[in-house]
């Protein structure tokens, strides 16, 4: 049959097509569309546990008066602003180095750096917790090397707790981003580099003016993935602080706050749903900004 103008409409009316996708539509509706709509509906209610009353925009008003929410928001944005750039630059540099075929044991290094992100989230958080405890291996090493006079309160002082969370997520996710860059680097035509080398372009300039621009789509992709991951940050802070975001709420993230509101405190599902929509809006906003910043200018 020739694909004519009526093709689109014909396909629309073709029952077989609909039957094929019906199972997925059904599942998506039940497990994706319904929860999204239901949580939006919930965000207009407030009350204790199952005793909910319609509250209109009451939860939004509550948001603006809630110092804990504002602190969780600030923490989340801090993690995002500090950690994502560090991780992206680190992953890019590692990928550039490990793309060099003349390096010995290259397979070992690539695997070693990628390995952390295969580790279980809980296992590695617990490991970090014990390594960075007051009497932990890290403090002992720092003391032995005379880098510090007193043990650092990695889990007891607000500033160091934030540093620890950033260290932990950088350790785990850098290798993951690196793999994307490595894959993209393999696709860059070697003759470009050869031509640059013949023209006498130094190595750092080849990296800045050739590698980075060529990787732009992949960098955009990893940045957005990392943004979403960081804004939803939960496992690490939960496991490092026994679910408390301690000390002094310094590591409390929005996701952890939602969890506490739902499962630790007097359950307030409506308010928690409202905060989860804050995350949705943030992710959408940041992703849009990144697309905008990385757009092709003609």
């Amino acid at each position: 049959m020739a694909a004519g103008k009526a093709g689109g409409l014909k396909r629309y009316h073709d029952l077989n097509g609909w039957l094929f996708i019906a199972p997925s539509i059904l599942l998506i509706s039940i497990f994706l569309v319904y929860p999204i709509l239901r949580s939006l509906y919930l965000s207009f209610f407030s009350g204790k546990g199952m005793m909910m009353k319609f509250a209109g925009f009451g939860n939004v008003v509550r948001l603006s008066n809630d110092p804990v929410f504002l602190q969780a928001l600030t923490n989340t944005i801090t993690f995002f602003v500090v950690q994502v750039p560090i991780m992206i630059v680190l992953a890019l540099l590692l990928a550039a180095v490990l793309n060099n075929d003349r390096l010995k044991f290259i397979g070992f290094f690539r695997t070693a750096i990628f390995l952390p992100c295969v580790a279980s989230l809980v296992a590695y958080s617990v490991l970090f917790k014990s390594m960075f405890s007051v009497d932990g291996v890290v403090n002992q090493a720092l003391l032995a090397l005379h880098l510090t006079d007193a043990p650092i309160g990695w889990l007891t002082e607000p500033f160091w707790a934030k540093v620890l969370v950033i260290l932990a997520i950088t350790w785990r996710w850098t290798g993951y981003n690196m793999i994307f860059y490595l894959a993209a680097l393999q696709n860059i035509d070697r003759s470009i580099y050869e031509a640059a080398r013949i023209d006498g372009v130094p190595a750092w300039a080849r990296f800045v003016y050739i590698t980075v621009p060529m990787l732009k789509p992949v960098i955009l992709f990893t940045t957005i993935i990392s943004t979403i991951g960081t804004i939803q940050l939960f496992d690490e802070v939960y496991n490092l602080t026994e679910g408390r975001g301690s000390p002094a709420n310094a590591t409390l993230t929005l996701s952890l706050y939602i969890y506490n509101l739902t499962f630790r405190f007097m359950p307030s599902f409506g308010y928690a749903a409202t905060i989860s929509y804050v995350i949705v809006i943030m992710v959408a906003l940041f992703s849009f900004l990144q697309f905008y910043a990385a757009r092709d200018r003609s």
Binding site: G49, K129, V134, G153, T156, E242, P247, N249, R264, M266
Partner: protein
């Protein structure tokens, strides 16, 4: 005979069979129980189950051991999703959270007012499981507090057991300085992300985060202020070994690094688990705050058993709790000597174990002491938002360490708590 008749006869037959089965095999189920702490609640529940099974061989028990936070979160998730299949038959709930569950999940727990004789239990425990005139749950252990101290360390620093009686917190701090000077040991382990210490001190003065009517009481709460000031003095004098989390905190004293522990009586089992420290420990009443109406007795934690209303083994579970926890005085003697569990069944306290000397504590009659202190614990209203306000207090503990003005800290706690309580 048409199909419909066959079907109805078949259904009637099946029904009769089922009811026959139910009547002959009454109470022949497996009771699933969720609780935490393998050395304490889990072990005690297994003992209780074994006692019941000895008399009712058809009933078996499945005691599931979780971390406390996991029990609470699993319970809250299952209750809010409405999938009752996921729930156990009996669950342990810490007293601070009792009203929260009762009020936010109405109908989830079985009301036991006419099934259990509550007059036998300590009234404050019954009070906190009562909602709208109905009583839910079976009272279990008390969290009456004591000051556990290492006699050997204090002796090295020049103090006798008599010096540890009826202290004030200021005197405690002085002693702590001497202990560190002489022995190099810290006076206490402090989980700097946990407000339990503040709660002990506050309740010893008959105060809580809430007034009796449930209104928030932070600014202007003299007992809370005195408690925070005491914690600040300890933090600033650096008398403590800092810990992050429960496990680290427990290891501060099991490792022998600190000289004292101030906490609920349920820690006894953990202290006694270190057999090599036998004879080295003593127990005294906790020090006093500098506030009017304060006492040397307080409470930390303590929990009770609740039966899930939708449970298929509901009646069996209630019968079990009634027979063991509400009547078996002998059972309470055993869990006291073996696990250090001070139950809230009043009759149990006349049993022989309470008068016995404990060799681990150098032959002191510690149980007699704890039960005397229990009678002096000031009763307070835990309300339904203790977790929320506790988080607000915890959030400001580092400010105390860095020397913030306590009035400012109270103001900040008040503001954070108000944002949470809605």
């Amino acid at each position: 005979m048409d199909n419909r008749t066959i079907l109805s006869r078949f259904a009637a037959g099946a029904l009769a069979g089922a009811s026959l089965l139910a009547s002959t095999a009454a109470f022949a189920g497996e009771i699933t129980i969720w609780c935490w702490d393998p050395n304490f609640n889990v072990a005690i529940m297994k003992e209780a189950g074994a006692r019941y099974t000895a008399k009712h061989p058809e009933t078996t028990f499945n005691v599931v051991d979780f971390a406390k936070a996991d029990v609470e979160q699993k319970l809250q998730t299952a209750l809010s999703s409405g999938t009752t299949d996921a729930l156990p038959d009996i669950v342990l709930i810490e007293d601070y959270g009792a009203q929260k569950y009762l009020q936010s999940f109405p109908g989830a727990f079985a009301a036991l007012s006419d099934k259990i004789d509550y007059s036998g239990f300590a009234p404050y425990k019954v009070q906190l499981m009562t909602l709208d005139g109905a009583v839910y749950g079976v009272p279990f252990d008390s969290g009456v507090t004591g000051l556990y101290y290492r006699k050997d360390y204090l002796e090295q620093a020049g103090f006798k057991p008599e010096d540890m009686q009826d202290l004030t917190w200021d005197r405690f701090i002085e002693i702590g300085k001497a202990v560190e000077e002489k022995t190099g040991k810290k006076m206490l382990g402090l989980d700097v992300n946990d407000a339990g210490f503040v709660r002990i001190l506050m309740q010893s003065a008959g105060s809580w985060y809430f007034e009796k009517d449930g209104n928030l009481s932070i600014e202007g709460n003299a007992a809370l202020k005195a408690a925070l000031e005491t914690e600040q003095k300890i933090l600033q004098a650096n008398l403590h070994k800092p810990a992050a989390g429960w496990t680290e905190w427990v290891s501060t004293f099991t490792s022998g690094d600190v000289a004292t522990v101030t906490t609920g009586v349920w820690i006894t089992g953990t202290v006694k688990a270190q057999a090599d420290q036998a004879g080295k420990w003593g127990v005294a009443p906790i020090p006093k705050l500098n506030v009017e109406g304060t006492s040397n007795a307080s409470n930390l934690g303590g929990s009770s058993w609740y039966v899930i209303d939708s449970s298929a083994e509901k009646d069996e579970a209630i019968d079990f709790l009634n027979e063991i926890y509400a009547k078996d005085v002998d059972f309470y003697q055993k869990i006291l000597t073996e696990r250090g569990a001070v139950g809230s069944l009043l009759a149990a306290r006349t049993g022989p174990a309470y008068g016995e000397a404990d060799a681990f504590f150098g032959g002191e009659k510690v149980w007699q002491n704890f039960s005397d202190w229990l009678a002096k614990v000031p009763s307070v209203n835990y309300g339904i938002f203790t977790n929320e306000v506790d988080t607000a207090v915890t959030a400001h503990l580092p400010d105390l360490a860095s020397g913030a003005d306590v009035d400012e800290v109270l103001k900040a706690i008040q503001s954070q708590a108000e944002g949470q309580i809605q």
